[in-house]
């Protein structure tokens, strides 16, 4: 899907939102749901940032770190990929207090989802680094760059381009899994919807709006990632003929 199609879809989903909002039966739910959506967006953005940081650190530590770091990275990746995000959130929220650690619900949401998606992201980072041709490492060694200099200056800039599409998927996964934070008392979009549904029973209206809102957010993510990919690819292979 190109940038243009994505832009059109983003606009369409906003128009759909406006149309829905223009019916009286829907209008009353919009302010409350928008509040919930804002919470969802905040968790998503902060969670994604944390996920990227964790993924880069864990991915590189697993590949090039000294053995204790490598071991730590492997543990992190396997634990967070091998257990469900819901259990991880419950752990942070309900279990840690038993050990005297009390975290704000929002902090738990961001840390839990960020660490969870970061574990998948670490494999994305690793795969993209490994996909850079070996000759790039060899040229770097021949020019006497250290391994870290080669990684930073030569390998990562090239790996970045290959990482962007899978990261787009992971960000959308993170957005979708924010719905489970309603189980640790956060008033996100899904939570607000359920709450309104219980008091008003207007299921069709409420969940139609919720659907459109989630779609709009994920389309914005897709669009941003497309733009990023286009810029990065242009920077990497300016004027490449083939």
């Amino acid at each position: 899907m190109g940038v243009r199609q994505t832009t059109i879809l983003v606009i369409l989903s906003f128009v759909a939102g406006l149309v829905v909002a223009s019916f009286a039966g829907f209008r009353e739910f919009i302010p409350g749901l928008l509040e919930g959506a804002w919470v969802t967006v905040r968790i998503t953005v902060q969670g994604c940032l944390l996920a990227v940081v964790m993924a880069v650190i864990a991915g590189i530590a697993k590949m090039y770190g000294p053995w204790p770091l490598r071991w730590l990275a492997v543990c992190y990746i396997e634990v967070f990929r091998g257990t469900s995000a819901l259990v991880q959130l419950f752990w942070l929220f309900f279990v840690l207090p038993h050990f005297g650690v009390f975290l704000e619900p929002m902090t738990v949401a961001v840390v839990g989802l960020g660490l969870n998606v970061g574990a998948y992201g670490a494999e994305v980072v690793r795969g993209a680094i490994q996909a850079v041709p070996r000759g790039q490492w060899e040229a770097s060694t021949a020019l006497n760059l250290t391994r870290m200099q080669a990684l930073r200056r030569i390998i990562l800039p090239q790996a970045l381009v290959a990482m962007i599409p899978p990261w787009g998927n992971l960000f959308i996964e993170l957005l979708k899994s924010t719905a489970i934070v309603s189980l640790i008392t956060i008033g996100d979009l899904a939570f607000r919807a359920q709450q309104m549904n219980q008091t008003t029973l207007k299921t069709v209206q409420i969940f139609s709006i919720v659907l459109v809102m989630y779609l709009a957010i994920s389309m914005v993510i897709t669009l941003l990632m497309r733009l990023l990919e286009r810029r990065a690819a242009a920077g990497l292979s300016r004027g490449r003929v083939s």
Binding site: P133, G135, Q136, E138, A139, T141, A142, L143, N144, L145, T146, Q149, R153, I154, P157, Q158, G235, L236, S237, R238, G239, R240, V241
Partner: protein
């Protein structure tokens, strides 16, 4: 790699100490012995051509000297210093060597530069940036100094008007010339060329060979090149080494080795190459 003993290369009679010495170097991949007890001295400023059938270990020789491969036995010396090894603790003068640390490798590796068959340019950097990266990052040159050095070298290889072009915008021959300039920007004493024209369209081979000729004439670089261009080896090299199954089967001045090969394998190889055109 074990601790080894190896004599510091001494000046031969009336001559100078070799720039490069392979002292009983062995390289294995699993059960396969790719280089067997290789003994080879190369003098400062000497131009050596390495020829031989595919799989005979030619590339491996260069890769070991560039420290891209570890060796399984022997010692490689560069410019009077052990490269693969360093003097063991408290062993001054005893000749006992231990495997080189990363730091030692980095220090000696700076004397060697390499040009690859497939260029291996950095695709995300312009020609000039390709040449500036290592001088700035490794040698600590200012960007201005590195830019001047890079631009000068790119002019030398005939690409003074392509400084801001990216590798993807250059022909194979132009990319290979950028790669030569990039290696030279580190001011190596020894330059390695691994079949640098093999990946090029025939009409682009000449421009790269011209640059190598010019390098040979204008700089006192030690040059070691693996090549299938027998004509070029004959005209350019001071000495030719014919590799066969991980050993130097024959070595000599180009006129002798090409004109009157002693070894049966050399003869077979040369006639096969000549037949192929």
């Amino acid at each position: 790699m074990e601790a080894s003993t190896s004599e510091r290369p001494a000046a031969a009679e009336g001559g100078v100490a070799p720039m490069v010495r392979f002292d009983r170097v062995t390289k294995r991949y699993g059960a396969l012995t790719v280089l067997d007890d290789l003994q080879l001295d190369i003098a400062a400023g000497e131009k050596v051509a390495i020829i031989g059938p595919s799989g005979s270990g030619k590339t491996t020789v260069l890769r070991m000297l560039m420290t891209l491969e570890r060796i399984d036995g022997g010692v490689i010396w560069v410019d009077g210093e052990p490269m693969t090894h360093m003097p063991g603790p408290g062993a001054a003068g005893s000749g006992s060597l231990v495997p080189a640390s990363q730091r030692h490798l980095r220090q000696v590796r700076g004397k060697v530069g390499m040009v690859f068959q497939h260029f291996n340019l950095f695709p995300h950097m312009s020609a000039l940036k390709n040449c500036m990266e290592a001088p700035v990052t490794v040698l600590g040159l200012s960007r201005k100094e590195a830019r001047e050095r890079g631009a000068e070298l790119l002019s030398m290889v005939g690409l003074g008007d392509k400084l801001d072009h990216f590798p993807g915008q250059l022909s194979g021959g132009q990319q290979q010339r950028v790669a030569i300039a990039r290696a030279l920007a580190m001011r190596p004493k020894v330059m390695l060329f691994d079949e640098v024209t093999s990946a090029l369209d025939p009409e682009l081979v000449g421009e790269v060979l011209t640059v190598i000729r010019k390098l040979g004439a204008e700089h006192d670089l030690t040059m070691i090149m693996v090549t299938h261009q027998m004509g070029f080896a004959k005209e350019f090299a001071d000495r030719v080494c014919f590799f066969y199954q991980g050993r130097i089967a024959e070595t000599g001045a180009p006129a002798e080795l090409f004109g009157n090969p002693e070894n049966e394998r050399t003869r077979q190889f040369l006639s096969a190459v000549l037949e192929a055109g």
